[in-house]
Protein backbone atom coordinates (compact mmCIF):
# COMPACT_ATOMS: atom_id res chain seq x y z
CA UNK A 1 0.00 0.00 0.00
CA UNK A 2 1.27 3.45 -0.89
CA UNK A 3 -0.74 6.65 -1.03
CA UNK A 4 0.82 9.89 -2.24
CA UNK A 5 -1.32 12.84 -1.19
CA UNK A 6 -1.09 16.57 -1.78
CA UNK A 7 -3.21 18.92 0.33
CA UNK A 8 -3.25 22.51 -0.93
CA UNK A 9 -5.10 25.71 -0.18
CA UNK A 10 -4.72 29.08 1.48
CA UNK A 11 -2.45 29.61 4.47
CA UNK A 12 -4.71 29.58 7.54
CA UNK A 13 -7.12 26.94 6.24
CA UNK A 14 -5.38 24.30 8.31
CA UNK A 15 -3.71 22.60 5.36
CA UNK A 16 -0.48 21.79 7.18
CA UNK A 17 -2.27 20.73 10.38
CA UNK A 18 -4.56 18.43 8.47
CA UNK A 19 -1.54 16.79 6.89
CA UNK A 20 0.10 16.54 10.29
CA UNK A 21 -2.91 14.81 11.83
CA UNK A 22 -2.98 12.39 8.90
CA UNK A 23 0.74 11.74 9.41
CA UNK A 24 0.24 11.05 13.13
CA UNK A 25 -2.64 8.71 12.27
CA UNK A 26 -0.28 6.82 9.97
CA UNK A 27 2.23 6.62 12.81
CA UNK A 28 -0.45 5.04 15.05
CA UNK A 29 -1.09 2.58 12.22
CA UNK A 30 2.61 1.62 12.01
CA UNK A 31 2.85 2.93 8.46
CA UNK A 32 5.88 4.70 7.04
CA UNK A 33 5.13 8.36 6.55
CA UNK A 34 6.67 11.60 5.29
CA UNK A 35 5.18 15.08 5.74
CA UNK A 36 6.78 17.72 3.58
CA UNK A 37 5.38 21.24 3.85
CA UNK A 38 5.80 24.21 1.58
CA UNK A 39 7.29 26.25 4.38
CA UNK A 40 7.63 29.98 4.63
CA UNK A 41 5.44 33.00 5.28
CA UNK A 42 2.22 31.21 4.19
CA UNK A 43 0.77 31.25 7.72
CA UNK A 44 -0.28 34.80 6.94
CA UNK A 45 -2.06 34.10 3.66
CA UNK A 46 -0.92 33.00 0.24
CA UNK A 47 -0.98 29.39 -0.86
CA UNK A 48 0.20 26.58 1.36
CA UNK A 49 0.58 22.92 0.56
CA UNK A 50 1.85 19.75 2.11
CA UNK A 51 2.82 16.40 0.61
CA UNK A 52 1.96 13.43 2.80
CA UNK A 53 3.10 9.96 1.77
CA UNK A 54 1.78 6.90 3.60
CA UNK A 55 3.30 3.54 2.78
CA UNK A 56 3.85 0.09 4.20
CA UNK A 57 7.41 0.14 2.89
CA UNK A 58 10.33 2.58 3.10
CA UNK A 59 9.68 5.92 1.38
CA UNK A 60 12.37 7.28 -0.94
CA UNK A 61 11.54 10.79 -2.14
CA UNK A 62 9.44 13.09 0.06
CA UNK A 63 9.14 15.36 -3.00
CA UNK A 64 6.87 14.20 -5.81
CA UNK A 65 5.73 15.26 -9.27
CA UNK A 66 2.46 13.30 -9.37
CA UNK A 67 -0.02 12.27 -6.73
CA UNK A 68 -2.60 9.55 -6.11
CA UNK A 69 -4.89 11.97 -4.32
CA UNK A 70 -5.16 15.75 -4.28
CA UNK A 71 -7.17 17.67 -1.69
CA UNK A 72 -7.65 21.14 -3.15
CA UNK A 73 -9.06 24.08 -1.24
CA UNK A 74 -8.59 27.10 -3.53
CA UNK A 75 -8.47 28.03 -7.20
CA UNK A 76 -4.71 28.63 -7.38
CA UNK A 77 -4.06 25.14 -6.01
CA UNK A 78 -6.58 23.59 -8.40
CA UNK A 79 -4.84 25.31 -11.34
CA UNK A 80 -1.48 24.10 -10.08
CA UNK A 81 -2.25 20.50 -9.13
CA UNK A 82 -5.13 19.23 -11.29
CA UNK A 83 -2.69 18.06 -13.94
CA UNK A 84 -0.40 16.44 -11.38
CA UNK A 85 -2.88 13.78 -10.35
CA UNK A 86 -2.09 10.31 -11.72
CA UNK A 87 -4.61 8.92 -14.22
CA UNK A 88 -7.20 7.01 -12.21
CA UNK A 89 -6.34 9.09 -9.15
CA UNK A 90 -8.63 11.15 -6.95
CA UNK A 91 -9.34 14.88 -6.75
CA UNK A 92 -11.28 16.20 -3.78
CA UNK A 93 -12.10 19.90 -3.90
CA UNK A 94 -14.17 22.47 -2.09
CA UNK A 95 -16.22 24.52 -4.55
CA UNK A 96 -16.07 27.60 -2.31
CA UNK A 97 -14.29 30.31 -4.32
CA UNK A 98 -13.79 28.01 -7.32
CA UNK A 99 -14.76 29.68 -10.59
CA UNK A 100 -12.97 27.27 -12.94
CA UNK A 101 -13.99 23.78 -11.82
CA UNK A 102 -11.81 20.76 -12.66
CA UNK A 103 -12.11 19.40 -16.19
CA UNK A 104 -10.19 16.14 -16.25
CA UNK A 105 -12.15 13.03 -17.15
CA UNK A 106 -9.52 10.39 -16.34
CA UNK A 107 -9.60 10.90 -12.57
CA UNK A 108 -12.29 10.55 -9.93
CA UNK A 109 -13.51 13.98 -8.87
CA UNK A 110 -15.38 14.67 -5.64
CA UNK A 111 -16.81 18.08 -4.83
CA UNK A 112 -17.03 18.49 -1.06
CA UNK A 113 -18.64 21.71 0.16
CA UNK A 114 -16.80 21.82 3.45
CA UNK A 115 -16.75 25.61 3.80
CA UNK A 116 -20.54 25.64 3.64
CA UNK A 117 -20.64 22.85 6.21
CA UNK A 118 -18.71 24.96 8.70
CA UNK A 119 -21.75 27.25 8.84
CA UNK A 120 -23.84 24.26 10.05
CA UNK A 121 -21.11 23.49 12.57
CA UNK A 122 -21.17 27.13 13.69
CA UNK A 123 -17.39 26.96 13.84
CA UNK A 124 -15.08 27.95 10.99
CA UNK A 125 -12.15 26.25 12.71
CA UNK A 126 -13.66 22.82 12.10
CA UNK A 127 -12.98 23.30 8.38
CA UNK A 128 -9.91 21.16 7.93
CA UNK A 129 -11.37 18.30 9.97
CA UNK A 130 -14.49 18.30 7.79
CA UNK A 131 -12.23 18.05 4.75
CA UNK A 132 -10.23 15.29 6.42
CA UNK A 133 -13.49 13.40 7.10
CA UNK A 134 -14.36 13.58 3.42
CA UNK A 135 -10.86 12.38 2.46
CA UNK A 136 -11.11 9.42 4.84
CA UNK A 137 -14.51 8.45 3.45
CA UNK A 138 -13.25 8.60 -0.14
CA UNK A 139 -9.74 7.21 0.42
CA UNK A 140 -9.82 4.94 3.43
CA UNK A 141 -6.06 5.26 4.07
CA UNK A 142 -6.26 5.18 7.87
CA UNK A 143 -9.11 4.33 10.26
CA UNK A 144 -10.90 7.20 12.02
CA UNK A 145 -9.69 5.86 15.37
CA UNK A 146 -6.07 6.31 14.27
CA UNK A 147 -6.93 9.87 13.29
CA UNK A 148 -8.34 10.44 16.78
CA UNK A 149 -5.07 9.01 18.17
CA UNK A 150 -3.24 11.45 15.92
CA UNK A 151 -5.35 14.35 17.18
CA UNK A 152 -4.58 13.45 20.77
CA UNK A 153 -0.88 13.73 19.92
CA UNK A 154 -1.11 16.95 17.89
CA UNK A 155 -3.42 18.83 20.26
CA UNK A 156 -1.88 20.06 23.50
CA UNK A 157 -3.62 18.43 26.47
CA UNK A 158 -5.35 21.68 27.43
CA UNK A 159 -7.28 21.44 24.16
CA UNK A 160 -8.35 17.81 24.56
CA UNK A 161 -11.86 19.04 25.38
CA UNK A 162 -12.06 19.79 21.64
CA UNK A 163 -11.56 16.16 20.61
CA UNK A 164 -15.31 15.55 20.47
CA UNK A 165 -15.89 18.58 18.26
CA UNK A 166 -13.19 17.33 15.92
CA UNK A 167 -14.80 13.89 15.76
CA UNK A 168 -18.13 15.54 14.91
CA UNK A 169 -16.41 17.54 12.15
CA UNK A 170 -14.85 14.37 10.71
CA UNK A 171 -18.27 12.67 10.78
CA UNK A 172 -19.81 15.73 9.11
CA UNK A 173 -17.18 15.53 6.35
CA UNK A 174 -17.87 11.85 5.83
CA UNK A 175 -21.58 12.61 5.46
CA UNK A 176 -20.85 15.23 2.77
CA UNK A 177 -19.61 12.47 0.49
CA UNK A 178 -22.47 10.74 -1.29
Amino acid sequence: MKEEIIIAGFGGQGVLSMGKILAYAALSDNLEVTWMPSYGPEQRGGTANVTVILSDSKISSPVLDTFDTAVILNQQSLDKFENKIKAGGTLIYDSYGIHRPPVRTDIKIYRVDAMEATFDMNNAKTYNMIVLGALLKIRNVVPVESVMDGLRKVLPERHHSLLDLNRQAITKGMQLVE
Binding site: K20, A23, Y24, L27, E32, V33, T34, W35, M36, P37, Y39, G40, I59, S60, S61, P62, V63, L64, D65, T66, K153
Partner: protein, 359 residues
Amino acid sequence: MEEVRLMKGNEAIAHAAVRYGVDGYFGYPITPQSEVLETLEALMPWETTGMVVLQAESEVAAINMVYGGAATGKAVMTSSSSPGISLMAEGLSYIAAGELPALVVNVMRGGPGLGTIHPSQADYFQATKGGGHGDYHFIVLAPSTVQEMADFVGLGFDLAFKYRTPAMILADGIVGQMMEKVVLPKPRPRRSDKEIARQCPWAVTGKPDSRKQNILTTLELDSYKMEENNLRYQETYSIIKRDEVRCEECYTDDAEYLMVAFGSMARICLKAIEDARGNGIKVGLVRPITLWPFPTENIERLSRRVKGILVVELNAGQMIEDVRMAAMGRIPVAHFGRLGGIVPNPQEVLDAFKERILK
Protein backbone atom coordinates in the same frame (compact mmCIF):
# COMPACT_ATOMS: atom_id res chain seq x y z
CA MET B 1 11.50 -1.06 22.40
CA GLU B 2 12.28 2.61 21.89
CA GLU B 3 9.33 4.83 21.09
CA VAL B 4 8.87 5.73 17.43
CA ARG B 5 8.06 9.41 17.10
CA LEU B 6 7.11 11.74 14.31
CA MET B 7 9.00 15.01 14.10
CA LYS B 8 10.81 17.50 11.90
CA GLY B 9 14.52 17.10 11.25
CA ASN B 10 15.23 20.32 13.10
CA GLU B 11 13.29 19.10 16.13
CA ALA B 12 15.15 15.79 16.02
CA ILE B 13 18.48 17.65 16.25
CA ALA B 14 17.31 19.46 19.39
CA HIS B 15 16.03 16.28 21.07
CA ALA B 16 19.18 14.38 20.14
CA ALA B 17 21.38 17.15 21.56
CA VAL B 18 19.71 16.99 24.97
CA ARG B 19 19.84 13.20 24.98
CA TYR B 20 23.51 13.10 23.98
CA GLY B 21 24.36 15.16 27.03
CA VAL B 22 25.39 18.33 25.21
CA ASP B 23 26.60 21.00 27.63
CA GLY B 24 25.71 24.09 25.66
CA TYR B 25 23.83 25.32 22.61
CA PHE B 26 24.40 28.87 21.37
CA GLY B 27 22.41 30.06 18.38
CA TYR B 28 20.52 32.76 16.61
CA PRO B 29 17.23 32.16 14.78
CA ILE B 30 17.14 31.89 11.00
CA THR B 31 14.76 30.04 8.66
CA PRO B 32 14.76 27.13 7.85
CA GLN B 33 16.37 25.93 11.08
CA SER B 34 14.74 28.05 13.79
CA GLU B 35 12.96 24.98 15.21
CA VAL B 36 16.30 23.78 16.62
CA LEU B 37 16.44 26.71 19.05
CA GLU B 38 12.66 26.78 19.53
CA THR B 39 12.54 23.08 20.42
CA LEU B 40 15.46 23.43 22.84
CA GLU B 41 13.70 26.34 24.54
CA ALA B 42 10.53 24.23 24.82
CA LEU B 43 12.43 21.21 26.18
CA MET B 44 14.06 23.41 28.88
CA PRO B 45 17.02 21.05 29.34
CA TRP B 46 18.63 23.43 31.84
CA GLU B 47 16.10 22.06 34.32
CA THR B 48 16.88 18.41 33.57
CA THR B 49 20.39 17.75 32.25
CA GLY B 50 21.73 21.19 33.07
CA MET B 51 22.39 21.96 29.41
CA VAL B 52 22.74 25.67 28.65
CA VAL B 53 20.57 26.99 25.80
CA LEU B 54 21.28 30.55 24.85
CA GLN B 55 19.98 32.79 22.10
CA ALA B 56 23.00 34.94 21.38
CA GLU B 57 22.81 38.49 20.08
CA SER B 58 24.17 37.42 16.70
CA GLU B 59 25.75 34.52 14.85
CA VAL B 60 29.17 36.05 15.48
CA ALA B 61 28.50 35.98 19.21
CA ALA B 62 27.10 32.43 19.03
CA ILE B 63 30.16 30.94 17.30
CA ASN B 64 32.52 32.65 19.73
CA MET B 65 30.52 31.24 22.64
CA VAL B 66 31.01 27.83 21.01
CA TYR B 67 34.74 28.61 20.69
CA GLY B 68 34.96 29.47 24.38
CA GLY B 69 32.85 26.54 25.54
CA ALA B 70 34.79 24.07 23.39
CA ALA B 71 38.07 25.36 24.82
CA THR B 72 36.94 24.14 28.24
CA GLY B 73 36.28 20.63 26.94
CA LYS B 74 32.50 21.00 27.05
CA ALA B 75 30.31 19.49 24.33
CA VAL B 76 28.97 22.63 22.66
CA MET B 77 27.15 23.32 19.43
CA THR B 78 25.42 25.88 17.29
CA SER B 79 23.06 25.74 14.35
CA SER B 80 22.26 28.20 11.62
CA SER B 81 21.47 28.48 7.94
CA SER B 82 23.65 29.63 5.07
CA PRO B 83 23.96 33.42 5.61
CA GLY B 84 24.38 32.79 9.34
CA ILE B 85 27.17 30.27 8.71
CA SER B 86 28.97 32.89 6.59
CA LEU B 87 28.87 35.22 9.57
CA MET B 88 30.44 32.46 11.65
CA ALA B 89 33.28 31.82 9.19
CA GLU B 90 35.99 33.54 11.22
CA GLY B 91 35.05 31.63 14.37
CA LEU B 92 34.94 28.33 12.50
CA SER B 93 38.49 28.82 11.30
CA TYR B 94 39.64 29.66 14.84
CA ILE B 95 37.92 26.57 16.27
CA ALA B 96 39.61 24.38 13.66
CA ALA B 97 42.96 26.05 14.35
CA GLY B 98 42.48 25.61 18.10
CA GLU B 99 41.89 21.87 17.46
CA LEU B 100 38.65 22.06 19.36
CA PRO B 101 35.72 19.65 19.21
CA ALA B 102 32.38 21.29 18.43
CA LEU B 103 29.27 20.61 16.38
CA VAL B 104 27.96 23.11 13.84
CA VAL B 105 24.68 22.50 12.02
CA ASN B 106 23.97 24.22 8.70
CA VAL B 107 20.41 23.75 7.40
CA MET B 108 21.11 25.22 3.98
CA ARG B 109 18.92 27.74 2.18
CA GLY B 110 19.30 29.28 -1.24
CA GLY B 111 21.95 31.94 -1.73
CA PRO B 112 24.13 33.81 -2.38
CA GLY B 113 23.49 36.84 -0.23
CA LEU B 114 20.46 36.76 2.00
CA GLY B 115 18.98 34.61 -0.76
CA THR B 116 15.82 32.66 -0.08
CA ILE B 117 14.46 30.59 2.78
CA HIS B 118 13.91 27.59 0.52
CA PRO B 119 16.09 24.46 0.33
CA SER B 120 19.53 24.46 -1.26
CA GLN B 121 22.83 22.61 -1.22
CA ALA B 122 24.87 25.56 -2.42
CA ASP B 123 27.15 25.58 0.64
CA TYR B 124 28.96 22.36 -0.36
CA PHE B 125 32.12 24.25 -1.26
CA GLN B 126 31.92 26.37 1.89
CA ALA B 127 31.52 23.29 4.09
CA THR B 128 34.04 20.95 2.45
CA LYS B 129 36.72 23.29 1.11
CA GLY B 130 36.97 25.82 3.90
CA GLY B 131 34.60 28.71 4.34
CA GLY B 132 36.88 30.42 6.77
CA HIS B 133 40.52 31.15 6.02
CA GLY B 134 43.46 28.78 6.22
CA ASP B 135 44.16 25.12 5.51
CA TYR B 136 41.55 23.41 7.61
CA HIS B 137 38.76 20.89 7.29
CA PHE B 138 35.63 19.99 9.14
CA ILE B 139 34.19 16.51 9.23
CA VAL B 140 31.01 17.12 7.22
CA LEU B 141 28.01 14.81 7.66
CA ALA B 142 25.09 15.00 5.21
CA PRO B 143 21.83 13.58 6.61
CA SER B 144 19.06 12.50 4.23
CA THR B 145 16.44 11.44 6.77
CA VAL B 146 15.07 12.76 10.05
CA GLN B 147 16.58 9.66 11.67
CA GLU B 148 20.02 10.70 10.45
CA MET B 149 19.43 14.25 11.71
CA ALA B 150 19.03 12.70 15.16
CA ASP B 151 21.84 10.15 14.81
CA PHE B 152 24.43 12.55 13.39
CA VAL B 153 24.35 14.76 16.48
CA GLY B 154 25.94 11.96 18.52
CA LEU B 155 28.15 10.81 15.65
CA GLY B 156 29.31 14.38 15.01
CA PHE B 157 30.30 14.93 18.63
CA ASP B 158 31.95 11.50 18.91
CA LEU B 159 34.11 12.24 15.86
CA ALA B 160 34.79 15.81 16.97
CA PHE B 161 36.12 14.64 20.33
CA LYS B 162 37.98 11.66 18.85
CA TYR B 163 39.96 13.87 16.46
CA ARG B 164 39.79 17.22 18.26
CA THR B 165 38.28 18.84 15.21
CA PRO B 166 34.93 20.48 14.56
CA ALA B 167 32.18 18.51 12.83
CA MET B 168 29.40 19.92 10.73
CA ILE B 169 25.97 18.55 9.93
CA LEU B 170 25.26 19.88 6.44
CA ALA B 171 21.52 19.51 6.01
CA ASP B 172 19.07 21.38 3.83
CA GLY B 173 15.64 22.94 4.19
CA ILE B 174 13.89 19.73 3.13
CA VAL B 175 15.33 17.42 5.75
CA GLY B 176 15.10 20.22 8.34
CA GLN B 177 11.44 20.96 7.69
CA MET B 178 10.00 17.55 6.82
CA MET B 179 8.50 15.22 9.40
CA GLU B 180 9.02 11.50 9.44
CA LYS B 181 9.48 8.69 11.89
CA VAL B 182 12.45 8.74 14.21
CA VAL B 183 13.73 6.73 17.14
CA LEU B 184 15.69 9.09 19.36
CA PRO B 185 19.01 8.01 20.88
CA LYS B 186 18.95 6.82 24.49
CA PRO B 187 19.42 9.67 26.97
CA ARG B 188 22.72 9.77 28.80
CA PRO B 189 23.98 12.15 31.44
CA ARG B 190 26.32 15.02 30.69
CA ARG B 191 29.98 14.32 31.49
CA SER B 192 31.18 15.34 34.92
CA ASP B 193 34.09 17.80 35.31
CA LYS B 194 36.30 14.82 36.24
CA GLU B 195 35.35 12.95 33.10
CA ILE B 196 36.01 16.05 31.00
CA ALA B 197 39.42 16.50 32.64
CA ARG B 198 40.28 12.88 31.80
CA GLN B 199 38.97 13.06 28.23
CA CYS B 200 40.33 16.54 27.47
CA PRO B 201 43.68 17.05 29.22
CA TRP B 202 44.21 20.05 26.90
CA ALA B 203 41.10 21.90 28.13
CA VAL B 204 41.48 25.30 29.73
CA THR B 205 39.56 24.75 32.94
CA GLY B 206 41.68 26.60 35.50
CA LYS B 207 45.14 25.34 36.43
CA PRO B 208 45.29 22.78 39.26
CA ASP B 209 48.63 22.05 41.03
CA SER B 210 48.75 18.65 39.35
CA ARG B 211 49.49 19.88 35.83
CA LYS B 212 51.13 22.59 33.81
CA GLN B 213 49.14 25.52 32.53
CA ASN B 214 47.11 24.80 29.36
CA ILE B 215 47.24 27.53 26.75
CA LEU B 216 45.07 27.53 23.66
CA THR B 217 45.91 30.05 20.99
CA THR B 218 45.57 30.20 17.22
CA LEU B 219 48.26 32.88 16.93
CA GLU B 220 51.82 31.73 16.23
CA LEU B 221 54.17 34.38 14.90
CA ASP B 222 57.07 31.95 14.55
CA SER B 223 56.36 30.59 11.11
CA TYR B 224 58.39 27.44 11.69
CA LYS B 225 56.15 26.62 14.62
CA MET B 226 53.08 27.60 12.61
CA GLU B 227 54.15 25.19 9.89
CA GLU B 228 54.46 22.46 12.53
CA ASN B 229 50.94 23.27 13.67
CA ASN B 230 49.71 23.00 10.10
CA LEU B 231 51.50 19.69 9.60
CA ARG B 232 49.82 18.39 12.75
CA TYR B 233 46.38 19.43 11.42
CA GLN B 234 47.15 17.73 8.12
CA GLU B 235 48.25 14.56 9.94
CA THR B 236 44.87 14.47 11.69
CA TYR B 237 43.06 15.08 8.41
CA SER B 238 44.90 12.23 6.70
CA ILE B 239 43.83 9.82 9.46
CA ILE B 240 40.23 11.04 9.16
CA LYS B 241 40.39 10.57 5.38
CA ARG B 242 41.65 7.02 5.87
CA ASP B 243 39.23 5.93 8.62
CA GLU B 244 36.05 7.96 8.59
CA VAL B 245 34.61 7.88 5.07
CA ARG B 246 30.93 7.01 5.15
CA CYS B 247 28.87 6.31 2.07
CA GLU B 248 25.69 4.51 1.08
CA GLU B 249 25.34 2.63 -2.19
CA CYS B 250 21.95 1.54 -3.55
CA TYR B 251 21.46 -0.70 -6.59
CA THR B 252 25.15 -0.44 -7.51
CA ASP B 253 25.74 -4.20 -7.81
CA ASP B 254 24.40 -4.44 -11.35
CA ALA B 255 24.43 -0.72 -12.20
CA GLU B 256 25.36 0.42 -15.69
CA TYR B 257 24.98 4.08 -14.77
CA LEU B 258 25.28 6.05 -11.56
CA MET B 259 23.70 8.98 -9.88
CA VAL B 260 25.65 10.69 -7.11
CA ALA B 261 23.70 12.88 -4.71
CA PHE B 262 23.72 13.76 -1.01
CA GLY B 263 21.13 14.72 1.59
CA SER B 264 17.50 14.96 0.58
CA MET B 265 18.49 15.15 -3.10
CA ALA B 266 19.69 11.54 -2.81
CA ARG B 267 16.16 10.47 -1.88
CA ILE B 268 14.67 12.27 -4.86
CA CYS B 269 17.26 10.52 -7.04
CA LEU B 270 16.40 7.16 -5.48
CA LYS B 271 12.79 7.56 -6.58
CA ALA B 272 13.97 8.50 -10.08
CA ILE B 273 16.22 5.43 -10.06
CA GLU B 274 13.35 3.17 -9.01
CA ASP B 275 11.30 4.55 -11.89
CA ALA B 276 14.23 4.07 -14.30
CA ARG B 277 14.69 0.48 -13.15
CA GLY B 278 10.97 -0.07 -13.73
CA ASN B 279 11.80 0.69 -17.36
CA GLY B 280 14.82 -1.61 -17.42
CA ILE B 281 17.50 1.07 -17.11
CA LYS B 282 20.05 -0.10 -14.54
CA VAL B 283 21.01 2.97 -12.53
CA GLY B 284 22.67 2.90 -9.11
CA LEU B 285 23.00 5.55 -6.42
CA VAL B 286 26.07 6.64 -4.48
CA ARG B 287 25.15 8.79 -1.52
CA PRO B 288 28.13 10.32 0.24
CA ILE B 289 27.27 10.49 3.95
CA THR B 290 30.55 12.20 4.81
CA LEU B 291 31.09 14.99 2.29
CA TRP B 292 34.48 15.51 3.85
CA PRO B 293 36.17 13.07 3.87
CA PHE B 294 34.72 12.36 0.43
CA PRO B 295 34.05 8.73 -0.65
CA THR B 296 36.51 9.00 -3.52
CA GLU B 297 37.26 5.27 -3.52
CA ASN B 298 33.61 4.23 -3.95
CA ILE B 299 33.27 6.41 -7.03
CA GLU B 300 36.71 5.53 -8.33
CA ARG B 301 35.84 1.81 -8.12
CA LEU B 302 32.42 2.19 -9.76
CA SER B 303 33.72 4.51 -12.48
CA ARG B 304 35.72 1.56 -13.81
CA ARG B 305 32.57 -0.33 -14.74
CA VAL B 306 29.65 2.07 -15.25
CA LYS B 307 29.09 4.03 -18.46
CA GLY B 308 28.26 7.46 -17.05
CA ILE B 309 27.53 9.44 -13.91
CA LEU B 310 24.93 12.13 -13.25
CA VAL B 311 25.68 14.28 -10.21
CA VAL B 312 22.49 15.82 -8.86
CA GLU B 313 22.74 18.75 -6.45
CA LEU B 314 20.70 21.77 -5.40
CA ASN B 315 23.44 24.02 -6.75
CA ALA B 316 25.18 24.93 -10.00
CA GLY B 317 27.78 22.16 -9.74
CA GLN B 318 29.94 21.81 -6.63
CA MET B 319 30.23 18.16 -5.54
CA ILE B 320 30.65 17.27 -9.20
CA GLU B 321 34.27 18.49 -8.94
CA ASP B 322 35.02 15.79 -6.35
CA VAL B 323 33.15 13.18 -8.40
CA ARG B 324 35.12 14.13 -11.53
CA MET B 325 38.40 13.86 -9.64
CA ALA B 326 37.41 10.37 -8.50
CA ALA B 327 36.28 9.29 -11.97
CA MET B 328 39.55 10.63 -13.48
CA GLY B 329 38.06 11.19 -16.92
CA ARG B 330 37.27 7.50 -17.37
CA ILE B 331 33.58 8.11 -18.15
CA PRO B 332 31.29 11.09 -18.79
CA VAL B 333 30.24 12.92 -15.63
CA ALA B 334 27.35 15.36 -16.06
CA HIS B 335 25.54 17.63 -13.65
CA PHE B 336 21.91 18.43 -12.99
CA GLY B 337 20.84 20.98 -10.42
CA ARG B 338 18.17 23.51 -9.61
CA LEU B 339 19.15 26.78 -7.99
CA GLY B 340 17.92 29.40 -5.60
CA GLY B 341 15.55 27.26 -3.54
CA ILE B 342 13.88 25.27 -6.31
CA VAL B 343 13.71 21.52 -5.67
CA PRO B 344 13.46 19.25 -8.72
CA ASN B 345 11.03 16.36 -8.61
CA PRO B 346 12.00 12.78 -9.49
CA GLN B 347 10.67 13.10 -13.05
CA GLU B 348 12.89 16.11 -13.75
CA VAL B 349 15.88 14.16 -12.47
CA LEU B 350 15.02 11.19 -14.66
CA ASP B 351 14.55 13.45 -17.71
CA ALA B 352 17.93 15.08 -17.06
CA PHE B 353 19.53 11.65 -16.72
CA LYS B 354 18.09 10.53 -20.06
CA GLU B 355 19.14 13.75 -21.78
CA ARG B 356 22.64 14.10 -20.35
CA ILE B 357 23.82 10.54 -19.72
CA LEU B 358 21.66 8.04 -21.60
CA LYS B 359 21.36 10.21 -24.74
